[in-house]
Symmetry: C2
Subunit: 268 residues, 2 copies
């Protein structure tokens, strides 16, 4: 059966953690798979919800593990926050790590009318959160959460993520945060726009991820196709959680690229 | 009409802020009114929701303004937290000011299985809140909030109260805090028990307050009587918010005591 042009996949989004890398090592064959994917599609982005490092650091890390990643090909929840701030011409008070601030270096921040908050231990204290609350007391100001994760594990110990502090500011001010990271529909639209320009159709984009909710369901909810990989945080049965079923469920990124090469969803 | 014995008021609870004092001054005639109240009822308590100072400091402040207040007559949200911790034999990690910790000096705190949180700027930072989150990851551990206020104004500027940090820990752990301050029913029961012993009937207790929700409705919800005073945070029309109507609505504490003296609700 000949597929219609619209149904052909032209762009790919790949989750970084759990798909390309796992903790402090690259997932076997994933660097080579990325090279094959680059040859297969018109554009791609490596995406991550983490909010502590700028995209340039994520790129350099991947390069050290021999991934061929070029400037502009990493898109993070910070990129989505920056994009939202730029479109709305907001002047944010940023509760972000020093490294993450690199992403905002050309953004005006005097007389703030918004708060951008990510995981940033050194910023999460009474004085700084009180400053943020005061900005948000103004009716028109906006609370932008890079993500709303609860906690993560580091060296075997639980650490707070941005979410609890987002919840604190929401409770203090009665405002709801705009969460710009995965699985926000705005995130997927922004990264597709970044990879493929304004005329991209969602069905031309495939998301390859290990998180059935944040990657797979999130991408499918905006009309993208999705491939679930069984690395990272995948647990048996995850594919039954999402609706509709993903385009494919495969063992790893290398198998996802093989699927794209061989199934005819990209080439005719 | 002769009242039944149960209907007579024998004990009184007085809110401190907005009823006895306002900011840094005593409300006119309130010290003399307290002396008249002492002669009228069998027992009374001065109550406060603030969580930054121990009861001994509140007592000393009131004494400096010439209120006749004696040890044990101030009951705060901290007292309620302490009472809950003692009854349940909990070992709390306390996120409280150094001064407030005085209230807990005889409480065991090793291997904590509870978190007590109040307004305590110096404790509200990432490391300490992460410690609290770890305690609360244990299924059986309890989160006890001295209050859940959003913010207060100090020198014309908004400051965060405990509430936003309580919300942060609730979001991180999925647990709901037990709020022990006003208007918690447990608070009113605990202070009545403290003033009058275990056999007190709620209708024998009158609450005199300026906050129609936290003082008046809270006390009436456990079956106490209540007198709303028009000092402090009272706003015209407040008396229409609560159900049933308060026993009386009067201008100030002095008038509340006059009402108790003259209406026959205390004496036959």
């Amino acid at each position: 059966m000949r597929r219609t042009a619209a149904a052909r996949i032209r762009y790919a989004l790949l989750d970084v953690d759990g798909v390309c890398v796992m903790g402090q090592r690259a997932i076997p064959q994933s660097a080579a798979a990325l090279a094959r994917l680059r040859a297969l599609v018109r554009g791609h982005r490596l995406i991550t919800n983490q909010s502590q490092e700028p995209c340039s650091s994520v790129m350099q890390k991947l390069q050290r593990w021999h991934f061929d990643v070029r400037p502009g090909e990493v898109f993070s929840a910070l990129s989505a926050a920056k994009s939202h701030v730029a479109i709305r011409k907001l002047r944010p008070l940023c509760l972000l790590t020093k490294a993450a601030m690199e992403e905002f270096e050309d953004v005006a921040m005097e007389r703030p009318n918004a708060v951008v908050i990510g995981t940033a231990p050194a910023e999460m204290h009474y004085k700084r959160l009180t400053e943020a609350m005061r900005v948000l007391m103004d009716e028109d100001s906006e609370l932008i959460a890079v993500n709303k994760g609860r906690y993560f594990k580091e060296n075997g110990e639980f650490q707070l993520m941005a979410g609890p502090f987002v919840a604190a500011l929401e409770y203090a001010t009665g405002k709801s945060a705009r969460v710009v990271g995965k699985p926000s529909p705005d995130f997927f639209r922004a990264v597709a726009h970044d990879a493929a320009g304004p005329d991209v159709l969602p069905e031309q984009v495939v998301m390859i991820g290990d998180d059935v909710r944040d990657d797979i369901q999130g991408a499918m909810d905006v009309g993208m196709r999705a491939i679930l990989v069984k690395t990272g945080k995948y647990r048996p049965g995850d594919e039954e959680i999402c609706t509709p079923a993903p385009l494919a469920v495969v063992d790893c990124l290398a198998d996802a690229v093989t699927y794209l090469e061989e199934s005819g969803v990209v080439t005719e």
